[in-house]
């Protein structure tokens, strides 16, 4: 059983604070929670909303039909009432006159005045919402206490209780199990993965929707003893990060498409210097500034070849907050062990979508630096770019081995790192670097699969399409459709085994992507020769939900 709440208002009205409170409270009650944000690129005004879906079963994505609208302004009602169910409830301030019979007035502003805290009106709305579901509200006191000073926490809780007492119970819901979860979004998960993975240096320039990765790391920098530097531009970010990584510190950077564009020459520098590097691209709609606070999956093509010249890389997309943590730690290890660039793709949807998941198992994480020990060094002099069978050369840390120096060179170079234009050396070095891809094939993970053993309809997506596709497949399966959904995390080198297996008997293959040109579909054709029969694409900056996929599959494909 699942319910769906929308919290809406203008920027600056406290939509985020209210929603965070509700999400945390529901989570602590033991419910499964998924929330996603829809906001405008402005600091005040406009219209922002957050959808909170919760229930006693796992929730993987957002849903269009609403049970409750918490409206901090009248626009919220106008914009979303069509999606509100017949028996739904609109919670709004009692002063807002609504003709809608579903409206229930809450003394939000009155409560704020009463407790002498003008920012507490949202707390009253949250109290009312909790009451609608017949839940008690004692967790709210703790949650306020964690966020505010004593006095502010108390006034918020009093406002919460005023809202709580002002309405009656409206919805039935089963008693949830015990709270075993954490509630986290994928950007926070990437940051936590970076911390667990031993990142010591992180340089970045703020860019939505990547900024919260840096913010989360920055918050913990002192405690973790790491350095998080906000630099002058993304060119500096990638080059400074490469410098720190060269000097032996595990380093990483994150940005969105525009900043990634600025980093591209630096990626190529990574290619020839073979300094381990992880770059996160949190995608948003382009071209150019595009839509800063919206979502898209349109950078896949770009990151597959970004950087002049040819060099090995790995590209993976995170699929949810659980995946985001573990994949970040994996990306760091692969970058170090292979001395390559690993690009981690995520997007605005994932950046701002919080999900209840089981706590991460930190004891399962390893830090594999791939640094050559002094014992492993050959006696006949250190060669940073030694031509080995695996293509991976011995890497040592500058300053740590007396008598050994390390040359990182952007030119083509010989085994010692000295500039060379010799044709044999050039060929050998290109082969050496590209040979790493052979080893990488061993690392590649197959996509996740949900559905029938031999589906007639195969849905294929990547990254943030995980939640919507998983749920869409369930909807179709429940109606007896022979369907399966493959959701790719690793994208390059391309893992094709499961795809080939399920595509063999499928009659219809549909790539479901959040872009205009079907970039995964094209990558699949390039890597496997398999052609999609249909494409289900969306590029309006808003994430497809399971219902949209289900609906379009029925109308356009079946």
């Amino acid at each position: 059983m699942k319910y769906n709440i929308l919290v809406g208002g203008a920027a600056g009205q406290g939509v985020d604070t209210l929603s965070t409170l509700l999400e945390k409270l529901l989570k602590r009650k033991g419910f499964f929670v998924h929330s996603n944000k829809d906001y405008m690129s402005r600091v005040r005004g406009g219209h922002n909303f957050i959808q909170i879906r919760f229930g006693t079963d796992p929730v993987y994505s957002h849903w269009p039909f609403l049970d409750v609208i918490i409206a901090l302004d009248k626009d919220t009602v106008e914009l979303h009432k069509e999606r509100l169910k017949e028996d739904g409830v609109i919670l709004c301030d009692e002063a807002i006159l609504l003709e809608d019979r579903r409206a229930v007035g809450v003394p939000m502003i009155w409560a704020a005045k009463k407790v002498n805290n003008h920012k507490a009106s949202g707390a009253a709305a949250a109290g009312a919402a909790v009451k609608l579901f017949g839940q008690s509200g004692e967790e709210a006191l703790d949650i306020f206490g964690e966020k505010f000073e004593r006095e502010t926490a108390d006034s918020n809780f009093r406002a919460f209780m005023i809202g709580y007492e002002s309405v009656g119970k409206r919805f039935e819901i089963d008693k949830p199990g015990e709270d075993r979860h954490i509630l986290i979004n994928s950007n926070e998960a990437i940051a936590l993965g970076a911390l667990a993975g031993g990142v010591g240096f992180f340089a970045s320039y703020p860019m939505t929707p990547a900024t919260s990765i840096m913010r989360q790391l920055s918050k913990k920098a002192k405690d973790a003893g790491i350095v998080v530097e906000q630099v002058e531009d993304e060119i500096s970010a990638i080059n400074m990060t490469l410098g720190a990584a060269y000097a032996g510190v595990r380093s990483m950077t994150a940005t969105s498409g525009g900043g990634f564009s600025l980093m591209v020459e630096g990626l190529s520098l990574q290619g020839i210097t073979e300094i381990p590097m992880v770059v996160v691209d949190s995608q948003r709609p382009g071209p150019s500034t595009g839509m800063a606070t919206r979502t898209e999956q349109s950078d896949l093509d770009f990151v597959l070849t970004a950087g002049h010249g040819e060099f090995p890389r790995m590209v993976l997309a995170v699929r949810n907050p659980e995946d985001a943590f573990y994949q970040t730690t994996r990306a760091l290890n692969i970058a170090d062990r292979y001395q390559i660039l690993v690009i981690v793709l995520t997007d605005q949807y994932l950046a701002d979508a919080a999900n209840t998941i089981l706590p991460y198992d930190f004891s399962s994480i390893t830090i594999e630096r791939g640094i050559t020990t002094e014992e492993e060094l050959k006696s006949d002099g250190y060669k940073r770019y030694e031509n080995t069978a695996t293509g991976i050369s011995p890497r040592i840390i500058p300053g740590k081995t007396e008598g050994a120096v390390i040359m990182a060179d952007s030119h083509e170079h010989n085994e010692k790192g000295s500039i060379s234009e010799n044709e044999e050396i050039r060929t050998a070095m290109m082969d050496k670097r590209m040979r790493k891809l052979e080893g990488l094939l061993e690392e590649i993970q197959e996509p996740e699969y949900f559905g029938s053993d031999s589906p007639e309809l195969l849905l294929i997506g990547w990254g943030s399409m995980y939640g919507p596709l998983r749920e869409a497949a369930e909807l179709l399966l429940n109606e007896g459709t022979s369907v399966g959904a493959l959701v790719f995390g690793d994208l390059y080198p391309f893992p094709g085994r499961l795809l080939k297996k399920y595509a063999a008997n499928a009659k219809k293959l549909v790539n479901v992507e959040q872009n205009h040109t079907g970039q995964l579909g094209r990558l699949i054709r390039q890597e496997t020769g398999i052609l999609m029969t249909h494409s289900l694409l969306k590029y309006d900056g808003r994430q497809m939900c399971a219902h949209t996929i289900y609906d379009r599959i029925i109308r356009e494909v079946l």
Partner: protein, 287 residues
């Protein structure tokens, strides 16, 4: 004092015969030797250009990165390992043109690195185009009717931006080069050393003689490098009125590492001990 031949590297040097760079390279080795910095603790960082080939001609750690981008990795290296001596050797195009933005922010950040600019007022590697320090009106292989932009005054820019060590030297005076280089390397914080250096192939105006006739030494008895306004005035002097060389401005500033308590007091970032389990406490925020 070390034997300066430990920094020697055998192999061809691709600078033109007579290039001013040939004087700067031994001065660098001499300064490192006199300061007792062993090759494995020195990192020579550069971008792209003739001067930027310096890391290849000296036995030390090297990072020869992208055009205009010597400053960011140099800072990254020093932040990662505060025990390394990090020295940038790059040209005027690299430092003041393509990399201009990084220069300003490196001054603000004040990471303890030395930035040596081989300033020959022309682009050498790409064969003779105007650089940010080429005089307006000077004809080049690209600016056929003369450069149309005014020349940048890098030292004025540095002083105005708050740089704590601003100096100039001349590749025609080995003793001066070594002495100013040593002072720059000993300075704690970001130090900028602009070295006037003739490009024998492409700059036929600012020749060895042109510089020789114009440079004058800042008198260590009468000139006070802590006087910022005087330093600013000196930095504006150029051309026929004379070109001052020496340390124009010097001021103690907190370095980047000083400003981050745990970096200052603790070990270098590269020596930080960390296990994945140490990060588990950060998950509490999400309970």
């Amino acid at each position: 004092m070390r034997d300066k031949t430990i920094y020697d590297i055998h192999g061809e040097i691709s600078w033109c015969p007579g290039c001013g760079n040939y004087n700067i390279l031994p001065a660098l080795k001499q300064a490192l030797a006199e300061l007792g910095i062993p090759p494995h603790l020195a990192v020579i960082v550069s971008g792209i250009g003739q001067a930027a080939k310096t890391p290849h001609y000296i036995y030390a750690n090297g990072f020869n990165g992208l055009h205009g981008r010597a400053v960011p990795p140099a800072q990254g290296i020093k932040i990662a390992n505060k025990d390394l001596k990090v020295i940038i050797h790059s040209g005027d195009g690299d430092s003041y043109g393509e990399g201009g933005n990084h220069l300003i922010h490196a001054i603000r950040r004040n990471v303890d690195i030395t930035h040596v600019v081989h300033n020959n007022q022309i682009y050498g590697l790409t064969k003779g185009q105007a650089s940010p320090t080429t005089e307006k009106g000077q004809k080049t292989t690209m600016q056929f009717d003369g450069a149309t932009s005014d020349a940048l005054k890098p030292l004025t820019l540095a002083i105005a931006s708050g740089c704590g060590f601003v100096a100039r030297s001349f590749s025609g005076d080995q003793e001066h080069l070594v002495s100013v280089l040593k002072e720059a390397l000993n300075y704690r914080g970001y130090s900028l050393l602009d070295i006037l250096q003739p490009c024998v192939a492409f700059n036929h105006i600012n020749t060895f003689k042109w510089y020789k006739d114009r440079v004058y030494y800042l008198d260590s008895d009468s000139y006070d490098p802590s006087d910022k306004l005087e330093a600013f005035r000196k930095s504006l002097e150029w051309g026929d009125e004379g070109i001052p060389i020496g340390v124009l401005y010097k001021e103690e500033r907190e370095t980047y590492v000083d400003r981050i308590h745990y970096l200052k007091e603790g070990p270098s970032l590269v020596d930080r001990k960390w296990r994945p389990e140490d990060a588990e406490k950060f998950m509490e925020d999400f309970r």
